[in-house]
């Protein structure tokens, strides 16, 4: 599996230099959000707003009113918790073309409670006029810049930084669910960093005779309930969602709402943070500790199918994760 170093840095710079009405805003986390190079090379397109997120969000609303499309860079959690009122009144209500680039989603930061955006999807998806995107690999990080900027309204993006695996060979398209496997026993729905876990679990499950259908979401709002229902209908045993987020209000909730509204009787297991804060630690440790890893998915699949697979940590560790184009032609579906 190819690892790409700082895919956002290059993607944003390549895009922004072609679009002078795009502005790069930072709240004192410039290198942490991989825009330090952009700041140094394009200072005229960069605005430092300091550690003052409330002002930054309203200020960005004013920039939007003036016809600019500001990209706001910070850790996801700092873009909505403190400045929620400003997000509502200055950005979301008036549909400003503000792009909120939220780094370190969920437990991808060792920073603990204050740094971990674990309810951002839940919050953002309830905001009228908001679009919510999540990047799951390097290709999606690269393509989320142009995709977000194509939206006529505000957009919140969960962005991955640093060394990011490349899983997909086609760009993120808003509203387009990636179908990664078309099995018939259980449906697994993932987004962001949990997709790699599911790819690992899927390979092991397939070997154990469990046929997995796997969807990767990059567009969380608007939520394509119809497509998901079609896939849920195609499996025998039920649906598992695994999200880097609280299970309340996020992808698990959205899938549950879709099933209930359609009256489609499928069991649903929601994996992710179970009504709890997380603490600081490595991503690998936290995903295991909070039941958000490949092994948790395997156990959930066993609960749905009633079948003991015998898959253990070692078996999962032996799974080689390949780029998706060599596993199944995702976008052909």
């Amino acid at each position: 599996m190819e690892m790409v170093n700082r895919p956002y840095a290059k993607a944003f710079e390549d895009y922004a230099v072609q679009h002078p009405e795009v502005l790069c805003l930072s709240a004192d986390l410039t290198s942490s959000c991989e825009i330090d190079g952009f700041r140094d090379r394009h200072p005229g397109q960069f605005l430092s707003l300091g550690m003052a997120e409330q002002n930054m969000l309203s200020f960005a609303g004013g920039l939007g009113l003036a016809g600019f499309r500001p990209f706001l860079h910070s850790f996801g959690v700092f873009l909505y918790r403190r400045p929620y009122d400003q997000l509502m009144a200055s950005i979301a209500y008036p549909r400003r073309q503000v792009r909120l680039m939220g780094f370190l989603p969920g437990i991808t930061t060792p920073g603990g409670m204050t740094h971990q955006a674990i309810e951002d999807i839940s919050v953002m998806r309830t905001i009228p006029n908001m679009t919510v995107l999540e990047a799951g690999d390097a290709t999606e990080v690269e393509s989320i810049v142009a995709a977000a900027d194509s939206v006529d309204g505000p957009v919140y993006c969960r962005i991955l930084r640093g060394a990011v695996p490349r899983l997909f060979d086609t760009p993120l398209e808003i509203g387009r669910i990636r179908v990664l496997a078309e099995g018939t026993d259980v449906l697994i729905i993932t987004a962001g960093i949990t997709t790699e876990e599911a790819i690992r679990a899927r390979a092991a499950l397939n070997r154990a005779g469990v046929s997995v259908r796997h969807l990767h979401l990059n567009t969380l709002k608007p939520f394509d309930a119809a497509t998901i229902l079609g896939h849920a209908e195609a499996v025998k045993h039920g649906v598992i969602t695994l999200e880097n987020h609280l299970v309340t209000g996020g992808i698990g909730s959205m899938v549950g709402e879709a099933l209930a509204e359609a009256g489609l009787p499928r069991r649903l297991i929601r994996l992710g943070l179970q009504d709890t804060y997380a603490h600081g630690g490595s991503r690998h440790y936290l995903m295991r500790y909070y039941g958000m890893d490949a092994l948790s998915l395997v156990r959930a699949a066993e609960r749905l199918t009633g079948q003991q697979t015998g898959i253990d940590e070692e078996a999962l560790g032996a799974v080689r994760v390949e780029a998706v184009h060599s596993v199944v032609k995702a976008e052909a579906l």
Binding site: G50, Q54, N55, S58, G61, G62, S90
Partner: protein
């Protein structure tokens, strides 16, 4: 726009109109008219470079909130004239001054008097707390403290685009209790946003009463200067002083005019209610009648015919 009336006359008209409305509707933001009449009259009648209104004299009904499907959505900013390179833009940050702002729009000929009859009526855009679709409003400011930041962003953008029109934010002094106000000033100073100016109604009142009893804010002029603004302090009811303050040079910095006002100016009778002046309701019919006669006399007009109201 050509001014057909003096600013003093407009200010008097604002007080009379808000008084009449408050009497008829058994309550209103009367004190804000007392403190703000000269300031809003000054802004609309002479300080701001505004083009003619682009909106109908009688405000259209509520046309829905902004959404992807609401293609006809418009803010109320058209009452302040067209958006173009040269004209100024105005945000009225304390959205509860809406009644006073609407009265001002009528006095300067941008809205028909019938507009005020729609105030706070269901289905009307002339809302009690000014929304961005309300006449004269361009953004939502009902949550106090966000106006100056938004103005700073707009001003930065306008400067960047080479527009000569300035951005003015009308503020209330209660907003200095919000941390965001200080974030906005420091950002405007840091980025040299000098096409931004604010006129602040310093009436030392807030919802719970006198500011000193709710949260002491200290010497706000010094605080604003320390945060990087140029500050001018004036008597809010002295138009000559307001004119001089507006002319204060502020290259590379935002200008904040602190307009020290009386929350009972022109309606001395209201002192009986001090310091609970945020929203004046009548405790009894007798009080309403007494206030009607006393304030009308002070304004030099006939008492309001309460009729069936």
């Amino acid at each position: 726009m050509q001014n057909s009336r003096t600013t003093e006359d407009v200010a008097h008209g604002i007080r009379c109109r808000v008084f009449e409305h408050t009497m008829r509707n058994n309550g209103g933001y009367l004190s804000q008219a007392c403190s703000a009449a000269e300031q809003l009259a000054f802004l609309y009648n002479e300080a701001l470079n505004l083009g003619p209104s682009t909106m109908p004299l009688v405000p259209p009904p509520f046309g829905g909130v902004p959404s992807a499907g609401n293609h006809d959505y418009r803010t109320g900013a058209g009452y302040n004239g067209p958006f173009d390179m040269v004209h100024d833009r105005l945000f009225i940050a304390p959205a509860h001054y809406a009644l006073v702002a609407y009265a001002c729009l009528i006095e300067v000929g941008r809205m028909a008097p019938e507009g005020l009859e729609m105030f706070n009526q269901d289905g009307s855009s002339v809302e009690m707390i000014g929304a961005e679709h309300s006449p004269g409003m361009e953004v939502h400011n009902g949550t106090l403290g966000i106006g100056l930041s938004t103005g700073a962003g707009l001003a930065w953008g306008r400067k960047r685009k080479g527009e000569t029109g300035e951005v003015c934010v009308y503020m209330s002094d209660g907003e200095v209790q919000e941390g965001q106000t200080w974030e906005a000033v420091q950002a405007a100073a840091h980025h040299g946003i000098d096409n931004l100016w604010a006129l602040m109604d310093v009436n030392r009142q807030q919802c719970d009463g006198a500011m000193d009893s709710v949260m002491t804010v200290g010497d706000i002029a010094t605080k604003f200067r320390n945060f990087g603004a140029v500050v001018a302090e004036v008597d809010a009811h002295d138009l000559t002083a307001l004119r001089e303050a507006k002319a204060t040079p502020h290259a590379g910095q935002p200008l904040i005019i602190l307009a020290h006002s009386s929350p009972t100016k022109g309606m001395d009778f209201l002192m009986r209610r001090f310091p609970r002046l945020h929203y004046v309701r009548f405790k009894s019919d007798e009080e309403r009648c007494e206030m009607n006669i006393a304030i009308a006399a002070g304004l030099g007009i006939e008492p309001v015919d309460l009729g069936e109201h």
